[in-house]
């Protein structure tokens, strides 16, 4: 290798320093929130004058927090299932189909990733007002699905492109119908892509706040919307506790992804 880390001399220390600073830059706000959630002051003071678990007690005792968490979870699960199913059929079409404008269509499916979310939110809000979907679970699911689908299509298409179609052909000649061959051979072979699609779809919906603010009603709101609304009313450390739990779930999911990926590879 051109740059050998072991032979860099004192540059090594500089590199280590930069790495540590970058890690701190990324992680400190999160650690800060986690610390505040255990702080005894009710004013989000740092450093906390003392330590307590009462904000967590308050959080878990409040049915509105649990309700919004349950709403978030429901929406995220439905979005995940739909996003993976739609992502699968779309990816098969995009990878295996031979038709005009295939590349253009592929790019079109990814536009929600680059479109400013707030533009999408306003558009969906205006449209849903017309057809009465604002403030409904269906409205939430559809709007989050728009955001999640590009991630799903991207990871499943990648997996499918790396899968040799001859393997599916071999299964067909072995006597499996084209559908059976896809279920029994192709899907297990691209399971890492399907798994990534599911996780990213779930996370996209689970911590999405911009579109959700537009979709929410006083009776139906997701956890991130609840966090945001509470922050605006009073700066209680309960928000920090809720945020910490949100982060914890996300971290757990990412660890799961890493573990499953490792398992699927070997």
């Amino acid at each position: 290798m051109l740059l050998n880390f072991d032979r860099l001399g004192w540059w090594k220390l500089v590199l280590i320093g930069i790495t540590l600073l970058t890690a701190a830059f990324l992680l400190l706000p999160i650690l800060f929130i986690a610390a505040l959630s255990f702080g005894s002051s009710q004013w989000l003071i740092f450093p906390p004058p003392g330590w307590t678990l009462k904000w967590y007690q308050e959080l878990l005792a409040d049915p509105r927090w649990l309700e919004s968490a349950w709403t978030s979870f429901q929406i995220a699960i439905i979005v995940t299932v739909l996003s993976v199913l739609l992502g699968l059929v779309t990816s098969f079409g995009l990878t295996r189909g031979r038709f005009m404008f295939r590349e253009a269509l592929k790019a079109l499916f990814l536009t929600p990733m680059i479109l400013p979310v707030v533009v999408l939110a306003v558009a969906l809000y205006a449209f849903f007002l017309q057809i009465g979907l604002n403030g409904t679970l269906t409205g939430f699911v559809i709007s989050h699905l728009v955001l999640a689908l590009p991630f799903s299509i991207l990871s499943i298409t990648n997996a499918l492109e790396g899968f040799d179609k001859s393997i599916e052909d071999a299964a067909v000649l072995c006597g499996a119908s084209p559908f059976e061959a896809k279920i029994r051979v192709t899907l297990p072979a691209i399971s890492h892509g399907i798994f990534s699609a599911a996780i990213f779809s779930f996370l996209t919906s689970w911590d999405e706040v911009v579109v959700a603010i537009f979709m929410a009603s006083p009776t139906l709101q997701t956890l991130p919307v609840k966090v945001w609304a509470t922050l605006r009313q009073d700066l209680t450390p309960v928000v920090a506790a809720a945020s910490t739990l949100l982060i914890l779930l996300t971290v757990l999911l990412m660890v799961l992804v890493a573990l499953v990926r490792k398992g699927l590879k070997s």
Partner: protein, 360 residues
């Protein structure tokens, strides 16, 4: 040959303006090992894919035991196939891969287990049933693919360049395995390759494909001794070509004039001979005799030696005629001429007109 088992009747495949296969006709006997030999793009693989059902022919029919195959979808054709690329199911073990076609057919478990054991024994991979494909070498994977394709006793086994990803030594080893397995199972095999040596080693008969047409079908020795076209002559074995003039032609024999001087009668002629027209004389390098002086009475061409290469079991001598046409000669190791010849020497190359061929 007994009554045809598999018949390919006027198969044609067009992709838009391009015709990949031109009206191919072929009869295959039961238990035969037939190879489609040709360069890439000659239509051999397309023909195989039509047999497998992955491509539909523009016209023509395929009959197995007198009944058309074309109306049956791929998964019901009961045909076995080994592909060019490794196609073992990556998430299943070797045993599960071989069991797959049997499970799809819903056979009882005891029967499946017994068959998997038989198949592993056939391809000599006993003890490998719990391995994943990724833990095996390319050669082993293709043997498992062969076992999987034979597990359901297909009447016909298709092989699409199954050894092209392997190195030469391994390829030869597995060619022997395939031969043994063919003799042991007596399955009818259609094999696609662009490697003439592989075709000669394995096949009962070879169909030489060129530009979507079968130029010639025959056993290896037949194709070698009596090539029907210049393409077959070039593709099977080594060959030298000399431009010549056709004097007369009748009953498959021609009288030719070489470089305007020597007139040679009784050379087998192919194609559409026109008296007075141009033609090419084909000679096999190993059948040329190298002589120091002009032979009395024998047919011979005067040449100058341009290079001598030692190749182990034989010696390759490159020569040139007075007109500048290249002519290669292969001599057995130890040929007396070698020790005393060198570049620039003038010699004569003698040949038997009956073993030469003229292509028009």
């Amino acid at each position: 040959m007994s009554k045809p088992f598999l018949q390919i009747r006027g198969i044609r495949k067009e992709y838009g303006p391009v015709t990949a296969v031109h009206d191919v006709n072929l009869d295959v006997a039961q238990g035969e090992f037939l190879t489609f030999l040709g360069p890439s793009g000659s239509g051999k693989s397309t023909t195989l894919y039509i047999l497998a059902g992955f491509e539909a022919p523009t016209r023509g029919d395929i009959l197995l035991n007198g009944e058309t195959l074309l109306s049956t979808p791929s998964h019901k054709r009961n045909i076995g196939m080994v592909f060019q690329r490794y196609t073992l199911f990556p998430h299943l073990t070797v045993g599960e891969n071989i069991a797959f076609p049997l499970k799809v057919r819903r056979l009882p478990k005891a029967e499946i287990d017994a068959k998997v054991r038989d198949m592993l024994k056939l391809v000599r991979l006993e003890g490998f049933e719990d391995r994943k494909p990724a833990q095996m070498s390319g050669g082993q994977q293709q043997r498992v693919a062969l076992a999987r394709a034979l597990a359901y006793d297909p009447p016909v086994l298709l092989m699409d360049e199954p050894l092209s990803a392997l190195d030469k030594k391994l390829r030869e080893e597995i060619q022997h395995e395939i031969r043994r397995i063919h003799q042991q199972t007596e399955v009818t095999i259609l094999y696609v390759t662009h490697d003439q040596e592989e075709a000669l080693r394995l096949s009962d008969r070879i169909a030489v494909f060129s530009k979507g047409v079968i130029d010639q079908i025959g056993t290896g020795p037949e194709l070698y001794a009596n090539p029907a076209t210049r393409f077959v002559a070039e593709f099977i074995g080594d060959s030298d070509f000399l431009p010549c003039d056709l004097v007369t032609a009748a009953n498959g024999k021609a009288e030719i004039a070489l470089a305007g001087t020597t007139v040679i009668p009784n050379v087998p002629v192919h194609g559409k001979p026109v008296a007075g027209g141009k033609a090419a004389l084909m000679l096999r390098p190993e059948r040329l005799r190298l002589m120091r002086s002009a032979p009395g009475g024998a047919t011979a061409v005067p040449v100058t030696i341009s290079d001598i290469t030692f190749l182990g079991n034989n010696i390759h001598v490159a020569t040139e005629t007075a007109r500048g046409d290249a002519l290669a000669v292969r001599l057995p190791f130890g040929h007396e001429a070698i020790s005393s010849l060198s570049r620039g020497d003038s010699v004569w190359l003698g040949f038997d007109p009956a073993s030469a061929h003229v292509f028009c």
